[in-house]
């Protein structure tokens, strides 16, 4: 564990002093902020209309369809999921490929630490940075909980889904960054793999039977959406954890082969 932390600590420091990291952090915070405002406005309009309708029809039941969770928070979380699809590869693209560019992989691989230490250390650093990105959403939550009364359960589940999805994109990005010395190739490889895992869900619609079910379940989005509906299911957790283990193991093989060639 200590060697993992040694690697992670150095990487976190390097991430937080690089301007690129702040650009990514800024883009994420800014765009999700804009989305929050737009959603809030839309929510407010819907609410006002519903109020008028309820008064006109003397039916207070109409208001019960207006739901802060469903209409605002899950909207913001879903947009966050869309944003991390592009922003996480920009963070992870450097993780291992920079080691090769600096020649520091020779230092790491001739030190008394294992390839797992390197992979998990980098993974941990990526997760810490990603959690900092997600933390910028805390402001919206503070506003919502102060002026509204959303149910905390589904909010928590939604963010858990976002975090699980984000960690999956990190494991994919880490794998891509182990394959090449080139940042751009690393970025697009990880974006490509992530997009494939997302788009197979779309293909499910145009197929039928078991194949359709399989494609549906293999898609990252299906499981993210389950979380974002407020459902924490064992199958979705198993899906995410399997994905991480798969890409981390593949990364370990790639790191080991850096030394062989």
């Amino acid at each position: 564990m200590s060697s993992i932390w040694v690697i992670a600590k150095r990487e976190i420091k390097s991430l937080f002093i690089s301007p690129a990291a702040y650009i990514v952090l800024g883009i994420f915070a800014l765009l999700s902020g804009v989305q929050f405002l737009l959603s809030l406005e839309r929510f407010d309009q819907t609410l006002q209309q519903a109020k008028i309708q309820a008064q006109l029809m003397k039916n207070p039941e109409a208001l019960s369809f207006i739901n802060l969770n469903g209409m605002l928070i899950s909207n913001v979380i879903a947009f966050g999921y869309f944003l991390i699809l592009f922003t996480i590869p920009a963070v992870t693209m450097k993780l291992l490929c920079e080691e090769r560019n600096n020649g520091t992989h020779e230092l790491l691989l001739t030190s008394p630490i294992s390839a797992w230490d390197i992979v998990l250390g980098k993974f941990l650093a990526g997760i810490v940075f990603f959690l900092a990105m997600v933390a910028t959403n805390a402001l919206f939550l503070i506003v919502m909980f102060k002026y509204g009364n959303p149910e905390p359960g589904p909010v928590l589940a939604g963010y858990l889904g976002l975090i699980f999805g984000g960690i999956s994109f990190i494991s994919i990005g880490l794998f891509a960054s182990a394959l090449t010395k080139n940042h751009i190739i690393s970025f697009f490889t990880s974006l490509f793999i992530s997009l494939v895992l997302l788009m197979i869900g779309w293909a499910a619609g145009s197929t039928s039977g078991h194949l359709s079910e399989f494609l549906q379940q293999a898609s990252i989005t299906t499981h993210f959406e389950t979380f974002n509906k407020g459902l924490i299911t064992v199958s979705s957790i198993v899906y995410f954890v399997t994905l991480w283990i798969f890409f981390l193991s593949a990364t370990r093989v790639a790191v080991q082969s850096m030394a062989r060639n």
């Binding site: 060697s3 040694v6 690697i7 150095r10 420091k13 390097s14 002093i17 690089s18 600096n102 020649g103 520091t104 992989h105 020779e106 230092l107 790491l108 691989l109 001739t110 030190s111 008394p112 630490i113 030394a259 062989r260």
Partner: protein, 254 residues
């Protein structure tokens, strides 16, 4: 301290090393001498556990590089051709990272850091960011990371390449100061470097060892340069001959 037996390394059809064997005693400074592409870096990478040999064995302090790589890695300090530096870090934070990476116990870290900074002449640059350093200073940081955990064996791949004459003299002095306590293997293609810093030269050509030469046995009459040219040209002639006989065999079989 360092023992290589019949090391062979092939990359696909290309043979980089062929039956390389040598031994280096504790406290010796040995120069690995050869033209570019002779197999110096490959040998060093095998000794550090970075590469796996295709066949043959090597050991550091009695530990096999293939069977017990972790024990080997604890006992070596390695400066690759390109110093492995993180440009965005300061000299001090980088060396602190290396200390943790090499698993130096906490109570010795401060002491080792000061020792390495002083030894490598980096005391006044400890807070400099590595990317702002000159090439000479970067090389010193590279050497500092190789010795900071006071390893039994120090392996330096072309430690003076690309430096100016003054820097070269300083680095040579530094390497010389490691003798006795550490065993040093350094590679170079500069002949005078070996006579200036080493006790023994191992001459490698086309992936195999062609000659071993004690520096003290060299005389006015026969310099290392002459020895080098002699053994290398002999080796090339032999290789040519071997090729020719192979071709003539093929021809006669047709």
């Amino acid at each position: 301290m360092i023992k290589a037996e019949n090391l062979t390394k092939t990359y696909g059809p290309y043979t980089a090393l062929h039956n390389v064997s040598f031994e280096i005693q504790k406290g010796e400074i040995v120069g690995f001498l050869g033209a570019n592409g002779a197999g110096k870096t490959t040998t060093m990478r095998i000794l550090t556990g970075f590469y796996q040999p295709t066949s043959g064995t090597a050991s550091i302090d009695g530990f096999s590089v293939t069977e017990q790589p972790d024990e080997v890695k604890k006992r070596i300090g390695y400066l690759p051709e390109l110093p492995p530096l993180y440009p965005e870090m300061t000299v001090e934070s980088y060396l602190e990272f290396v200390l943790e990476l090499k698993k130096v116990p906490k109570q010795f870290r401060k002491q080792n850091l000061e020792w390495a900074l002083e030894k490598c002449g980096l005391l006044d640059r400890r807070r400099s960011i590595i990317s702002t350093l000159s090439k000479g200073y970067r090389q010193r940081v590279g050497i500092a990371q190789a010795v900071i955990h006071k390893p039994a064996v120090i392996i330096l791949d072309e430690p003076t390449v690309g430096l100016d004459p003054l820097q070269i003299i300083e680095i040579r002095k530094l390497i010389h100061s490691f003798s006795n306590e550490h065993t040093v293997l350094l590679s170079t293609h500069i002949l005078s470097e070996v006579t200036a810093t080493c006790q023994r030269a191992i001459i490698i050509n086309l992936g195999h060892i062609v000659h071993e030469q004690k520096i003290q046995d060299l005389s006015e009459k026969k310099s290392l340069e002459e020895v080098f040219l002699e053994v290398i040209s002999k080796d090339f002639a032999m290789q040519e001959k071997a090729k020719l006989t192979e071709i003539s065999k093929k021809v006669s079989s047709v």
